[in-house]
Amino acid sequence: MTIEEKRQVYTARIRKLRDMKIEETRKKIAYNGHTDEDDYNYLCPPEGYSWKPAGDTPNGDFHGYRGWSENYAAMLRSFPPVVIPENSMCGNFYRILQKFRKLRWHESWDLSPWQDTITRYGIDHGLGQIHHFCGDMRIGLRLGWEGLREKVLHYSRINDQTEEQREFYRAELLFLDACMEWMDRTIACVREKLETETDEGLRENLRGMLEANEWVRKAPPRTLREACTFISWYNLFGRSFNREGAGGQLDELLRPYYEQDIAEGIIDDEDAVYYIAGLLMSDTKYYQLGGPDETGRDMVSHVSWLILEAADRMDMALNLTIRVHDGLPRDFFRRGVELLFKHKNGWPRFSGDQSLVNGFMNRGFSRELAAKRIAVGCNWMAIPGLEYPLNDSIKVNLAKIFEVAYNEMMTSGERSTERLRQLYLSHLRIALRCVADTMDFDLNNNRYNSPELFLNLFMQGPIEKGRDASDHSVPYYNIGIDGAGVAVAGNSFAALQQRVEQEELLTWDQVYAAVRANFENEDGEYVRAVLRGSGRYGQPGSLGNEWVRKLTEMFRDEVTALRGKEVSVFIPGMFSWSKTILFGRQVGATPDGRKAFEPINHGANPMPGDVRNGAMTDMSEAILLAQCGMGNTSPFQMELDPGVIDMEDGIDKVMALLETHLRRGGTLINVNIVDAAKIRAAHKNPELYPDLVVRVTGFTAYFITLTPEFRQLVVDRLMEA
């Protein structure tokens, strides 16, 4: 077969897999209903599928080493094997074990010491948080699955002092045995398919699939196909266990295998693209491409290009991040932007190396360590194998903090924005103390609730010490805390300062009465209009910008000063994730003119409509004020018109916009290319657009899978572009 013929064959297979995926998305919605989260490329369970986990507490939840490992083993046994002859990889799953849980924390835990504070301030607390850290796939690529099992056995003999250690290793072994048994059944299925498949091209693919899987089952991968097969299984195990989704520096992970295969003449680039496409289809994992290595050398290689090529041919939901720095090849950066516009699927995203590295160094870490901290999550970075940050898990609703402080000020004592600031600070401290306390409890107890049986295998420490990653066994515990709703809080401070204190257009009582009445009292609409007309976050030189800057600095200082008994490093960021609706429901009307229970702002973005003419430069300037500068992100959720690239230098303009924001201190940019007509039509009839992918927040999702309420929020945001 010529290379061009091979290209056509592989591309046709990839398109067929894409079509199957679209159909699967439809079926999944019918089965699961709408969700407001990532699409993980798993399958709708077959008709009649009814497996349920065995619980160990009255509410039916399962816990601890035993509960998770036994149920996981049982769940995997319930999965019929999946082999699609057109795919270069095999295996897929039907359910995520973690999603069977009713409570994130252990039913027996007494939350009463914190419950009032959690409710009062709208805290997404630390209790029971899981998996928001990144395994180092290289550990597995070096050892293979069987090697990992031997490692567990080896250390189980050394760390045999306590029953808890023995239980830990029993669970890890049961986990691995279940995984490998799942591989065995899938391998058997590949053999069966091979016996019945009549198409010689597909038979050849099945033979390659069989050889790669049989090898990876017993030994470390040697070739690119085997490495992709290993990582594909890594994705399936981690995701089906507890929804784990952190990837890694994919180009560098695959490069040695690719280069060796090419040197030995085993594969060509078409084979490589086909294998990588299969890997990317196994899961919507977060992978970083490019960026400097520890010596400063950029990591873009031919493999990075092949990954983009595979993504291009797939045209599906993906989470690829290009790390932008001065050494990034311009043509690679350009290609990323071109694909963003070509498919309008929200990938790739772009992270800012300089700001992230300098930020992490500001928090007291070395440049070498900072360089290893890569984009592996929705809005977040982590050091694979070394760091337990629980990033993007713990969030404090700053709009709620504001509301509590505002109510206190209005019901007693002096009324001024300065006093309000002091009250806000005192309540923020109480909320953050609660976070630290829940983390202390969590790090001493979460292994009895939700142990990290999968990621333990790929971290430095847990297996060697016989202790879960949540139990002090990992080198770095840098717990991320995100602020959410900073625009609501900042605009509220600004509106009060401008309209009440400076201009005296409104009185404190007048505003409070209107806020309490949700602006539905006699002059409520007028008061609301006056408040909304004040200088907003997103408008250069405004009081809104100034207050967001102050509140961000306050948040940064308070989070970095926070200490727990178990955690000495907390890292601030500004991100709501997709909880803009949820957090909004916690907060009544606010003096920025926001009505009760309406959504808060998205991430670090201004409120929709507040940036004049939607100028991205003004939005950038605002979002730079909300950067905490400590290594975690305050992402820019950027919406761009597809017509931008109709201009001769459209791509250059977008590249300049992206890199200038990142160079000026931006940390992450998530981009949506908004085809307004298509989005509007899809909002009316989502079922007609099963392949429409939007970047909801840090993750991409099929538009059809979102709840109508969330679709509306996405539409409102996107239409502003």
């Binding site: 209009a529 007309g533 004049r612 100028a615 300049a656």
Partner: protein, 272 residues
């Protein structure tokens, strides 16, 4: 030195190379029937009313809180305008962008324009102007040393039709165009495609042939009709005379572009 400014728009992607800031000045000497910026016609601040924004709160006299009643245009110093422009300097540097002065007709405030362009140049900014080129040459010429690119319109080639549809003949414009061609300042000629007015083959052929003689392979842009202008008329108390007009279809645009190209210009089509 102060001028009357309609608006300053950041992150302009359609008014020249790179990422730009466009300064819309107030006042225009032409009265094109299709004017896309009717709020810029008067050379002074003027009231506007947007009924959709009105909440009927009765506070019109003390200051409308919603912007339903507002004033378009304000007096600004060169320094004030420059400060706003410089906010995005990093973006100009990375994109090869800069500032574009538009209108209205920028040369209606020649002294201010001259000072603003000089200040921008001193700040190292790339400068463009968008003009109808109908002002006297002695007003235009002093600005040329501080201009990197000039965008000017030739809307109608026939002087009588030009007078009929814009209120003035095109003799000065064509004369100035030749001088621009001779000046060495890079330029682009534009024709807004107004259905039934400027979109005839004769008009495009005539303009393109004229433009072709202004320099080697000059740039010529056809701006498709834009329906958004209509909504801007009522708030400033005007009636839109071309209500119901629609943008030209792609095939028609392509045909007109080919006619222009055949005349010896580099023709492109853009949204108006």
């Amino acid at each position: 030195m102060t001028g009357i400014i309609t608006d300053i728009q950041h992150f302009s992607l359609h008014d020249g190379a790179g990422i730009r800031t466009t300064v819309f000045m107030k006042g225009c000497n032409l009265r094109c029937a299709w004017c896309h910026n009717p709020e810029t016609l008067q050379l002074k601040p003027e009231p506007a009313y947007y009924p959709a924004k009105c909440i009927h709160c009765g506070h019109c006299q003390t200051g409308c809180p919603t912007g339903a009643r507002t004033t378009i245009g304000r007096e600004m110093s060169v320094r004030e305008v420059l400060d706003q422009i410089l906010r995005d300097q990093d973006y100009y540097t990375s994109s090869g962008g800069g500032v574009t002065v538009s209108g209205g007709e920028p040369f209606m405030q020649p002294a201010f324009l001259r000072e603003l362009l000089r200040a921008c140049r001193e700040a190292g900014l790339n400068t463009n102007v968008e003009t109808n080129l109908s002002m006297p040459w002695d007003v235009i010429e002093p600005c040329l040393p501080n201009l990197d690119h000039i965008y000017f319109d030739i809307k109608l080639f026939d002087p009588n039709l030009h007078r009929q549809w814009t209120g003035a003949g095109n003799e000065t414009i064509l004369q100035n165009a030749k001088r621009i061609g001779d000046s060495g300042v890079p330029f682009t000629v534009r024709t807004p495609l107004i259905p039934g007015v400027t979109d005839t083959e004769d008009n495009i052929r005539g303009i393109a042939s004229f433009v072709a003689d202004l320099g080697p392979s000059p740039e010529y842009e056809l701006l498709n009709y834009n329906v958004l202008a209509e909504a801007k008329y009522a708030p400033v108390g005007l009636t839109y005379p071309l209500s119901g007009a629609r943008p030209l279809p792609k095939e028609r645009l392509r045909a007109l572009c080919e006619i222009a190209g055949a005349a010896g210009v580099r023709c492109t089509v853009r949204k108006g």
